[in-house]
Symmetry: C2
Subunit: 276 residues, 2 copies
């Protein structure tokens, strides 16, 4: 991979990277398409990164299908599907970790200690190996996006981070590899997530700006669904600092939720801002 | 700096970096000379990095003389003396830190919590800004050298770390910007450090391999000097893992000390190995 990147760069080609954990869905494919449209070379990395899973989390359960992924990537015109092994990424004696403070403290960071350290560490390694000019991230993982943006700026990397809209199923559920954990019944119940976000957004549009009220709308709807077995958070935060807000102001806000349905921890978010 | 590095690289020039905190002495100059002999472009960074000083340490006391440094660098044929400001390196909102575990736990890391995190963070930033092919570090800061080597490998950086021998005064004292803190009397007393290391090395050469005995030789000599007001450690460690050793084995060992004379925290080390 390194020698290919070097060759691409020496040839003056713009390299786009789509970092993934595989088991591609339309969300991943939309990132590949966007990269394909903007870059001479598109690299998709596929690495289920053990470092970003907690000891009680679903690392071993995480769905994998490299053959199918390879076909899908090829269909999207991806130049390179980069699939390093765990022992290549973290050989014996590995000891280096990257951490972004503050932005990682709230939201998912509070419920998944070490998760973002795992994400920033692997993403920095992928950046250094692939040497991309542009990197594509989905907005479903909004906190991840902001953390990576911060790291990229702080570490003086010459990389453009490109946020891409969340892709949803026809019934509104945000695409996620973890949706595959859901039974038919759970899958149906999962539509409650986006429905609750839209309801809060509608109330915001009608003039309600108090975070407490908007969060309670989401919480009320989610608690009404018996298959939602645990809610990690319903939060309204500043779109850049991710600090909790009491009021949705001029800069808007991100309304974000994380919850469990069956074995799946699902996250979603929506932007509250006047012009959108 | 970034656009210059880009230009150099595009021109196929090898970039050498000598990262420093300034107040150049022969140690720094020897690194510059080595870089000058091996690289088309020599960049010396001068940045007294607040992140690697503890709250009770000598950040504000640290000696500075940019005009003198500029003249010395020019005399060595350095192409660029890169002097970023603190607010350029750590602008408001800065939040990203790099940590190397294990290697940073013993020796100076035990006595200077956060020090190596400050070092690895700033060095990674300098690497990303200057984009060097080769980087030159002195072996006086042996633990720093090993930590940087580890980080460079772990983060998949295409950079060669080049260790350079410690440069000493005529009486054996390792060159250090912090030597400037010493009074005439303290300066004289400071020769005890290298003397004690040489004495232990001589005993090792004669066949003694027990770390305890060798450390006691050093400790005894140091404690015999009244101006040594505190000894942080006298350690014998594996040259690569930096794990404390009970016995100097085939792979040799580093005998390292850190102590205070007056306001100055001084460190030094020596390699114990058969062939050297």
């Amino acid at each position: 991979m390194k020698s290919l990147s070097k060759k691409f760069r020496e040839g003056g080609e713009v390299i786009g990277l789509v970092p993934t954990m595989g088991y591609f869905h339309e969300g991943h494919l939309s990132l590949m398409r966007k990269a394909r449209g903007e870059c001479e070379r598109v690299v998709v990395s596929l690495f289920v990164n053990p470092l970003q899973f907690g000891p009680q989390e679903d690392y071993h359960l995480y769905p994998r299908d490299e053959d199918r992924d390879a076909k899908l990537a090829e269909k999207e015109g991806v130049d390179i599907l980069f699939i390093p092994s765990v022992s290549e990424m973290y050989p014996e004696g590995y000891a280096t970790f990257v951490e972004v403070k503050r932005l990682t403290e709230g939201l998912c960071g509070r419920f998944r200690p070490g998760h973002f350290q795992g994400v920033t560490t692997v993403v920095l390694k992928l950046f250094n190996i692939v040497k991309p000019h542009k990197v594509y991230f989905g907005m479903k993982d909004y906190q991840q996006l902001k953390v990576i943006e911060r790291m990229t700026r702080d570490l003086d990397l010459d990389i453009e981070i490109i946020p891409c809209p969340t892709i949803r199923e026809a019934d509104g559920l945000a695409m996620s590899s973890r949706n595959s954990y859901l039974s038919t019944e759970e899958r149906k119940a999962a539509t409650v997530i986006y429905r609750s976000l839209l309801e809060a957004k509608e109330t915001y549009r009608k003039g309600e700006t108090k975070a407490k009220v908007l969060k309670e709308i989401v919480g009320g709807i989610l608690r009404g669904e018996p298959l939602v077995r645990r809610i990690d958070y319903v939060e309204i935060v500043h779109p850049e600092t991710l600090e909790p807000l009491e009021e949705v102001g001029e800069e808007g806000a991100i309304l974000a939720v994380a919850l469990y349905i069956g074995k799946a921890r699902l996250i979603d978010n929506i932007l509250l801002r006047e012009e959108v």
